[in-house]
Symmetry: D2
Subunit: 348 residues, 4 copies
């Protein structure tokens, strides 16, 4: 299989490490560069002993302008904090090379949303139109020719996969939607902070980011796209004492009477050809997706109270980040979409 | 301090063990009987090494009719599966002795609800009126003279503590309420089952009991009580990978524009004199309540989407079961309500 | 790549499920049969939702004599309780087909050890000599022509990988060795029991099987093999609150003064060509091996007290069971030894 | 009950928070001061919501010289990093007030050990003789008149409780002892670091501090004290994915043939009058001691390999730190030794 020369910018964080893990088993991705400014000079094997056997000789390097050309990179993945991808994308995006941003900088199409949700103007808003949203289940055709991909946020993928078919089918109302979700701790990233120590998290469950989590406008953007007009959601994330996994439990009002079976039939039809989507008849569990690119979804309709409940589970670092990014990149690179990805979860 | 002779019927389960733990530090409760039919003959110290130093000589006995009189019990706690308390309560409830049922058999006031939610007719419906619902924060005055107390379900206490002040004040709608909650595994009881093994639960988060969990009508009963007329809720429980703790995240529509500060002020006023309630300015965490009888609550109002979010956290085995039961018993026995209970959580 | 028709007998347990997971990504193993007597008729996807996308149509079947021939199986893996493999091996072992037993029935070479450690005479002791011990790091050459492979116990692989190079080099004494190890809970299997519920295990650490764990004679057999004469170990397993992973911390007396660097140099030399062994300069962590076939080892020498400490970490279900079995099978099938296996761990 | 005015210096760490928790339920300890330089100005309720109901008004203050006299403190507890207690003890220790140091500064009797194990000369070595080692099980009589108490290290208490009776009875050798122990993460303290994040610790088990952990000389000091002459141990700590708890599995050579029953009888005799020690007939579990001041111990003798295995389990923050400190303080203050402490663990 032809092989692409890959650079990962911001490879020392969890999404970077997950990209390295996936690339180690991907027959067409050859990682020739892993940058990490704060870890420059550290061996990958020392920061991530889990990668010691796969990358015995790779060392994190500092990012410098010109590196992508110098190394002849075919693909650049970026795993950087929001705001910091923009100048690097501006440089490496040349219309030939594939650039896949795992951060937030190119996810929102409306540039006016950046100051509101991310606290700063977008510096290269002209690229927002060109960036293709990296969710093959919604934008597969656009991805085939994409050279700049914006990988969705982890909660966003989860909520979107749960609600999109129902909104697309017009069977739930576009307003009054509640997305109540719980995530494992890796979503908060690798650097130590008071909120992610073992003692703070273990045996604890709590909500955070109430009313104003940054994934809110992105969920609304996706659901508005499939519904045809404005969708509004209240999104409440929670932190669960586990490493990986997101479950979204979503509440929406039916537009007309609908049964549980009918709601699931809509999901099954929408996802019939999807290689990574499993529509289940019981509540999906995060654990069924551990380390895999699978997403499990289902729906319930409660006629007593007049609610439809849609649920989705996935691994936030795989399908919710690096696995989803590779899936999208596979499409853009003309590879089979499942190359180097597994739908089989690690259990237990 | 005068001491009451206490029997615990069904003491081998987690609520029974928690009662034993609390009683070990309670100056007025003297446990003279602990029954457990499936564990009869087993030393408490062998089934629960955590209690070895506190109860070196206590052994689980089988329950037999007449034991309460024979042993001169002043107080009988029952920690039994639903349906099994009724005949024992019928026997031991004599109008003098205090009977505290931690099960579900006397929680619902409307006897027609038992066949629907518990699958069988109530056998002594005449006692339903006499039973006082064991939530001092709502029924303190009734508890002072109670001889039969029905301790609330763990999720029910959590959701009630979050929503009751707002419904009592009339600031949220009585319909369309969603209670989305997560519990630690001890809520499922001690006996091993495929759903509560470590390997099934650890690193997992999933919903269960969708649309039809038995705590639903009990939440509705409480909230209807405080609201004055019919409240309807959709209740979705989740299982979180931790031993103890429940967090309820509740969504309700405001009846008129309300701010977060106004919602919290209503909570602070309602709970001003409560010894175990903490109204917080940040999202409550289950961990803050570990092993204590405290419940932490707060509220948020989202004007953008038109939702009020009310949250409560507690320890399902303490405030949510055995601690709450002792709190209610203290009231009925004329003791200081906080006797033998702590509001300080174990951290970390 | 040519493909082998594979049957997994006893596929409903954790080692069976791990085999299914690995086989799903293995280009030459085609699973055509998965048996599980207690789960017969259950879809694999229902018992293990993690495998739903990989095996949408596979159902556990009962084992019946003649199935291996009827289905034309090239490879039979057995994941059965000790004692139960023997009659099935007697049937399916025909000298052409590859039989890989993941249980204990063919691990010990000395038939007199079975009554002592497993409570029953071996029924086909003549096959004990023919069975090749499935640890390629020790028996690679024998495995190339093996038709019956006995996969090592999980603790045994761990302790052997830590101690074998030092005993082979004669730098530690053969007696007085202590193997102190901790395992994740999956080692206890899938069926629920009082000792493997979440509430029993979470936030707990304890020893078990003191003095008489069945892996003891197997560790001694391996170490005696490499040392040339009788090695004796005291083995103490512990249960750690995690799903997977074993760490063995082994204590041995040096035969002569030796430094930490010298001890590690012996390990590095012994494992220089091994694709799955990483010799580290810091204490190995179980987490570095999660879901991978890697084993991490190191050693320390304490001149103050006169002890050498050798440590090894691995995933008990992968390298310690099903991954190790596939590695050995790859050798016996003439495939590249690493086919379908990864040395990159899932982190975090 | 008469009440003592208590100050806690360095109260913002875990041992300080545990002291606050215990003091909240202690009838004779009245906390009037909690200092924490890095948290000065923070409300206790904000840093530790678990203490919000118990200490609604307490705020961490900076420590300043003279505070102990100014506030009329009867008891000063110090929970500070090693090296930092010395100047404060020098000031507040006046021979009347009780000073209890939970740090390492006064544990070792031999001043020459401080440079070797703690990297600096002791600044007030004359106080080392006066300091009483705060382990009532070994030094109860000395504690009755103590005004300066050095609370043992958490691993040290665990290993000492396991081995002391056997060494005191002369039934095990004084050399060649191995102490292999595992601890929950709270032993590493509250501040976030790469090694104590949830993602680093959860689902992981690893050794650390190999050969040179600072608790080594302290274990040797205690065991030498009971044995009468020099004891040497190799100590290997491990980190287990749990909040609290230490299990020590200790290996020693019998001086003469001894049975398991004989070894346990020695333990039972040694601890017959101890209110917090439970001698068990099965392996002790850390979970049996959660949040309590209990310590569970047992022993095994393996005649096959010639080892005695002694085990002890406790809660590192309670019996292993703040509970043990209060137990020792109770003795020194003339209170009943168990005042304010429980031997009943939180389960599950």
């Amino acid at each position: 299989m032809a092989s692409f020369r890959v650079g990962i910018v911001g490879a020392s964080g969890f999404t970077g490490a997950e990209l390295l893990r996936i690339a180690a088993g991907h027959p067409a991705l050859d990682v020739v560069l892993a940058t990490g400014d704060s870890q420059a000079g550290t061996r990958v094997a020392d920061l991530y002993p889990s990668l010691a056997a796969a990358y015995p000789d790779l060392t994190f390097e500092p990012w410098t302008a010109g590196l992508a050309d110098e190394l002849g990179l075919d693909v650049v993945f970026l795993g950087l904090p929001h705001g910091t991808s923009q100048p690097i994308v501006a440089e490496v995006h040349d219309g030939k090379r594939l650039v896949v941003d795992l951060g937030a900088d190119f996810r929102l199409k409306d540039p006016t949303l950046y100051p509101r949700w991310y606290g700063a103007e977008h510096t290269i808003p002209n690229l927002l139109d060109e960036a293709v949203y990296g969710l093959p289940e919604l934008f597969r055709e656009d991805l085939r020719t994409a050279r700049l991909i914006a990988t969705p946020g982890c909660y966003v993928t989860t909520a979107t996969m749960a609600l999109a078919p129902l909104l697309a089918a017009g069977v739930v109302e576009r307003s009054g939607i509640v997305v109540d979700a719980a995530s494992g701790v890796s979503g908060a990233g690798r650097p130590p902070k008071p909120t992610n120590t073992f003692n703070a998290v273990d045996e604890n469950f709590e909500a955070y980011g109430l009313l104003d989590h940054r994934h809110t406008p992105e969920i609304e953007q996706n659901l508005t796209h499939v519904a045809g007009s404005g969708v509004q959601v209240l999104f409440t994330p929670h932190l669960a004492p586990m490493n990986r996994g997101i479950l979204a439990t979503c509440y929406a009002r039916p537009t007309a009477s609908i049964t549980t079976d009918e709601a699931r039939a809509i999901m099954r039809k929408a996802y019939a050809e999807e290689p990574f989507v499993v529509v289940t008849d019981r509540p999906p569990s995060t654990k069924a997706t551990l380390g895999s690119n699978a997403v499990h979804v289902t729906a319930y309709s409660d006629e007593r109270t007049g609610w439809v409940v849609a649920l989705a589970a996935l691994d936030n670092l795989t399908k919710g980040a690096s696995g989803g990014a590779v899936q999208a990149a596979n499409v853009a690179l003309g590879l089979a979409e499942t190359t180097g990805l597994t739908a089989a979860g690690l259990y237990p």
